[in-house]
Each structure stands twice: as structure tokens, then as C-alpha cells.
Amino acid sequence: MAYTTFNRNINDQLKEPMFFGNAVNVSRYDQQKYPIFEKLIEKQLSFFWRPEEIDVSKDRIDFQQLPEHEKHIFISNLKYQTLLDSVQGRSPNVALLPIVSIPELETWIETWAFSETIHSRSYTHIIRNISAEPHKIFDDIMLNERILERAVDVTRYYDDLIDGINLYQRCGEGTHQINGKTEQITLRELKKRLYLCLMSVNVLEAIRFYVSFACSFAFAERELMEGNAKIIRLIARDEALHLTGTQHMLNILASGDDDPEMAEIAKECEEESYAIFMRAAEQEKDWAAYLFKDGSMIGLNKDILCQYVEFITNSRMQAVGLKPRFATTQNPIPWINTWLVSDNVQVAPQESEISSYLVGQIDNEVDTADFGDFDL
């Protein structure tokens, strides 16, 4: 019951459930209960990128010329994304690694969380470039009420799960006296917290990023902040994969094939799952209103963004077997999809502004006219 980093039980890993079985001992992939997770790992590794490779130097000039209300939109979104990736860079590890029971899923969780740390580092790369005082932007994240409001819902299900796991792994099922307080935990309750946590993560990665993505791409449609847009495309590609990973976990759990009790729990949690989706959608609409409080930007306004939130919420709900709850059926900003296409991200290095290639590019751009005065 207590967590051990190398479980000595000789077990058949193929018979373990995804969570709450034996802790993983040998990290082996010669046999897999759910090969999909190794495929996700391979895909994620093939996506590897480094923020420093993206040249964001032109963004500095663009940013200085943005009107104040557009600066507010740009910076606020970066702050919000910074919060989201701070949470995502650690929480899957802290919450899920102590309870995972199959090696390919354990490694997917670690690979997933690692890619979030790249996202976090990319925000520093962007912010350092556009601001001489990056600390002011980062310091405000912990003070900005609009962001903190969201942090509560983003982290709550993780924290409930982690708290329950700590109690369970220390004391086991039952009622316990901890520091003069009576605490109760059952394995069933933990499974429920896990299911809701995954649903909430799914919503985080499925909906919460997209208002911000849309704004980044709307700037880039005007050929502004294009370095930023390049980074956001790479992040969006990663996020689509993370989302797929979580959808697989949720759907496997809900099927009951992995753990029959989980199918019951998924049913029990249906109303709360709807509520998690709807609450996130409402919060993102509020966020859109906050972004545009001093004015819209070309190509986007609050109403269009709210419709987009409804549209993706519907489609994300269907992906995990829930019914769409909004009347919107059309994507109000279909142009965003062209920014989300995966193969466009993998442009030939010389066509993109990846700085490690840019060195060579600058050399090539030396015109023969530049040698006009040379006598060879």
C-alpha cells in the first residue's frame, strides 16, 4: 500500500489495471497491455523542439508597436498559459506516478509532463524578448485575480487526488486521526477522485488553452508576433497529443475493461463531468471578456471567441462520450485550423526562422552586388 520505487512483488504487468494495482517495478516495453501509450511516447519524442531554436527577435518590434489594449491581450494570455503549464509540468507526475501500475503508461505520463516543461521555458523565451522587465510580468501572475480565479479550478482536482493518495498510502482505507482531524478514505473514493482529475485535466488541455491560441494566431494572421505564433503552434501540436492521451485513459476507464468498478464510477461522475466542462467554458468566456475589456483585435472579438469556446467544448465533450450542451455547431473561426495542422509545423528548416539554421541563411543572402567593389 505504501508507495515503493521498486516494487518487489513478482507480478504479471499485463494483468495490472492502469491505476491502483501494484506499483511498477521493471520499466519494460517488450510486452504491453496498452500499446497506444508507447505510440504516444514515440510521437511526443518525434515532436521534440527547443524554444531557443525559434527566432522571436522580430516580435520585439511588433510588440512595441501594438496599441495598449492589444498588448494587454498578448501579455495576459502569456501569463495564463504560464500558469497552466506550471501546473501541467508537475502535476501529472505528482498525482499519477504514485498510483500508476503499467510501465508504458508510467512512461507516457513522464514524457507528457516533460514536454510541458518545454512549454514553460518557451514563455520565458518569449517574454524576455519582448520586455526589458520580464520579472514584472511573471510577478503579476501570482497577484492577478483573473488568473488566480482560474488556478483554483485548474488545480482543485489534482490536489484532492494527491491528498487522498497521501492518506491512503500512509494509513490505508478507513477513518484516521491526523493532527487532531478525522480523515476518511476508501479506494473507491480515490478512484472517483482519479476519474474527476483526469476529466479536469482533459478539460484544461482541450479548452482552456484555446482562447489564447486563437489570439496568438489572430496576431500572426496580420503578420504580427509571428515568432510567438510559431512557438504556440508547436505547443498546440503537443497539447493535441496530450489530450489524446487523456481521452484514451478516460475512455479505457469508462469501458470497465480495465477495472469494472471504474465503469460504475464513470457513470456516477457523469453529472460532475458535465459540470467541469461547463464551468471551464464559462470561465474561458469570462476570460475572453477580460481580454477584450479595452477593445477587440482585428479578426477577433469577445462574441466570436465565446462561440469558439462553445464549439470546441461541444466537440471535446463528444470525444469522451458526453453529449454536446451548446447550440453552436459551426466553427466561427475556421482559419484557426490551418494554424493547428501538424505537417505545416514541420516546414523545411530553411523556410522557418529556426535560428540554428538562420546562421547559414544569412550567409546565403549575401548578394553578389555586395562584392561589387572587390577585385579578385
Binding site: 497506444i36 505510440k39 504516444l40 510521437k43 501540436r237 493535441a240 497529443l241 489530450l243 489524446t244 481521452q247 484514451h248 475512455n251 466537440s315 463528444q318 470525444a319 462520450g321 455547431t329 459551426q330 466553427n331 475556421p334 485550423n337 493547428l340 495542422v341 501538424s342 505537417d343
Partner: protein, 85 residues
Amino acid sequence: MPQVRINGEVVVNFDGSSPNLLQFLEQQQQAVNYQCREGFCGACRCKLLSGQISYLQEPLAFVRRGEFLPCCSIPQTDIELEIPK
């Protein structure tokens, strides 16, 4: 040449001028949701009401029974599909 029936109405021949069913549907002016166009995001999910498709690459996105991903598949037989609304 397999025939594709779309939303119970239009029937079009899949004549091989499109590399996959997503592009094919777009050529028929059908609005299909998409993101990755590579089978890993699941945004393009459609219902397969009858017939068989084959995948050009193995999809990573979760696909329910009766659904398929047009971005990375082509029809094997005549098919009937439904684009979700």
C-alpha cells in the same frame, strides 16, 4: 471506384484525386472539423454508417466503434458516412 454517400444525401465517386477522405470531403465543399490532419488529435471524427475504410497510417486518436478518422483513411468499399454537427 468506391462510392461515398455523405450525410445520407450526396453520393460521389472516390476517384483517387484526393489522398484521403478528409481532403475528398473538403473538395465536395463539406465542412469537416480538423486539426492535425495526421490521425492524432481526433478532431475530424466522423460516423461510418456502412462499408469499410482503410487507414493510411495507424490513428493515435481514440476512435469509438462506428467512427473513423477521415484525415488518414480512404474507402475500401462503397461507404456511407455522417459528418457530426
